[in-house]
Symmetry: C2
Subunit: 335 residues, 2 copies
């Protein structure tokens, strides 16, 4: 429309008949301003459709009001959960009046250094941290406020949050055993995921195994690739080697549909012949046939909490080093 010279705080001040600093204080609330002046300023802001310049604000206040979200970029990642997570981070950050800069891990440590050093962001949210993640030491050294999703082996001086996967594995085992199953098994992620030392996969497995042992129930465990054929033979092998298995836990979102297909092909009915519990998002569980009893990965919760932790750190509050989110089992038809 108009030639649109952008509106500055000086324009607002002039329009409202006050000093620039007064406008600033009205907007930030950092000093008391009389109700009448405040209102006049606010009206001018609205009238002129004023939006503070982000760069100038960042420069003067040393706060960019932007946080970085660092995504992993690896094989075997499960994109939908990542996405849900990202969305919840953005939504929550906005509630704190912050924006989110999206980064991929493939720029490596330099990327983190760059955004931190350039004051592009005030803090970092690092996803999918592995057991021996090089970014752990880096973050410690960087001194930039950060929150990690996932647990590195050495979490000293870091703030970490994740679903309690050990508990999730145990919950699945307990549920099956409680339902009377006397031999159970876990079908996991592709083996590369375990080898990489991805914390959550190993922790689920440990929790599962431990719970089974506690009840004295034999528990087989098998990694599982994600193609239909691979899943079929994995299931066949498993049931061959452990014919008494009647309870199955699946911790592999991409394979979960195939597992049901494989069981169908092998003539095993779910849940009559084999009970299945999955660890996956609700929508996957719901649209499976039959709908799966499942423990969900509460991506949204994790995202929200992670942002809250980071905001607390930005405000100089001290926060717990580790936060574990409790898993929740939803009973559907498969177990």
């Amino acid at each position: 429309m108009s030639p649109a010279r952008t509106v500055t705080i000086a324009d607002v001040a002039r329009h409202a008949g006050v000093a620039v600093s007064t406008v600033s204080y009205v907007l930030s609330g950092k000093r008391a301003i009389s109700a009448t002046t405040r209102q006049r300023v606010l009206d001018s802001v609205r009238a002129l459709d004023y939006h503070p310049n982000a760069g100038a604000r960042a420069l003067a206040s040393k706060r960019a009001k932007v946080i970085a979200l660092v995504l992993p970029l690896r094989a075997g990642m499960n994109l939908p959960v990542l996405m849900q997570f990202a969305v919840s981070v953005v939504t929550t950050a906005r509630q704190y009046d912050h924006d989110v800069l999206l980064m991929t891990a493939d720029e490596g440590p330099d990327g983190l250094r760059r955004v931190a050093a350039s004051s592009l962001v005030d803090g970092l949210l690092v996803m999918d941290v592995e057991l021996h993640d090089p970014r752990g030491p880096l973050l410690r050294q960087l001194g930039e406020p950060s929150v990690l999703i996932g647990f590195p082996a050495d979490r000293d001086g870091l703030t970490c949050i994740d679903l309690d996967f050990a508990r999730a594995g145990a919950l699945c085992a307990d549920h099956l055993i409680g339902a009377g199953h006397r031999e159970i098994a876990l079908l996991g992620a592709p083996s590369v995921v375990y080898e990489r030392g991805t914390g959550y996969a190993g922790r689920t497995l440990a929790g599962f195994t431990e719970a089974a042992a506690r009840h004295g129930v034999p528990a087989a465990v098998r990694p599982c690739e994600e193609s239909f054929d691979a899943v079929c033979s994995a299931v066949r092998d498993l049931l061959g080697a452990h014919p008494g298995t009647t309870g199955l836990v699946v911790h592999n979102e991409a394979a979960v549909g195939h597992v049901l297909g494989a069981l169908r092909m092998l003539g095993r009915r779910v849940p009559q012949d084999v009970s299945v519990v999955a660890i996956c998002p609700d929508d996957v569980a719901e649209r499976a046939g039959p709908p799966l009893t499942s423990v969900l990965v509460p991506a949204e919760d994790v995202g929200r909490q992670a942002v809250k932790l980071l905001m607390a750190k930005l405000d100089g509050e001290s926060v717990p080093q580790s936060t574990l989110l409790q898993p929740r089992l939803t009973i559907r038809e498969s177990a």
Copy 2:
């Protein structure tokens, strides 16, 4: 380590024994600087590990070197593709020395207005634009450089890019008909997606129907919800109503696995009894059983091209109003 007062351009200038402006010109290349001076400055930059302050740069140059990626946030979205897309946008943007601000559509028009007006970003990438998307007019009015992924009905003055879904639909039909099928069908997205006027779904359907008509082959079409049961009855209905159907196109990523399961349950072998072609990402097609002949949604290409278009616009170049990416059919075992 150190108390870490951040390094400024003045520090670099002092260290190199030149003026601040000289450092700036070395870094931006906007004026000729002698080789020796340039080298000295560059050395100092490295020695001090200097990173320009993003806010100051943005303020002075009126270029933030950040673009916004606006994601949709709707039911029936398919997250993995979105994610792939986002990753490719970030990667490409980095090649142009830009960062990416992630926004969700749920902040609405105000969100776009806000980031644009505050100069937080230099341009906008808007994903998953619908036929009658309110953001079309908004962008036009905003005057901020932008690129839309998807085609609104009125694309005057906008820059749009997408996969040529009509062509993709036609390609599937052509492939099946070329293989000798005399009655074919399309299993599509959930009906809500069509009703919303999501361009790509409708265009696929149109391309498919048209191609079939051109060959004089009857072609049924059916939207499809994504739960296993719904898919089963959809497939059953379809095959019941059109018993001669031997070629099936599936344009629904979440349902594609279930379709194969349903066919198996109905006793139809793939590809002996029914040939199946899917429109979905390669990894989904590959890990299906049997691996699916498919047309992939080239999320990465779209992302890369979209960024390139946006960068061209930021540089003041003029770009084509519409860009259509050609689909590619990959033959696997299912058709």
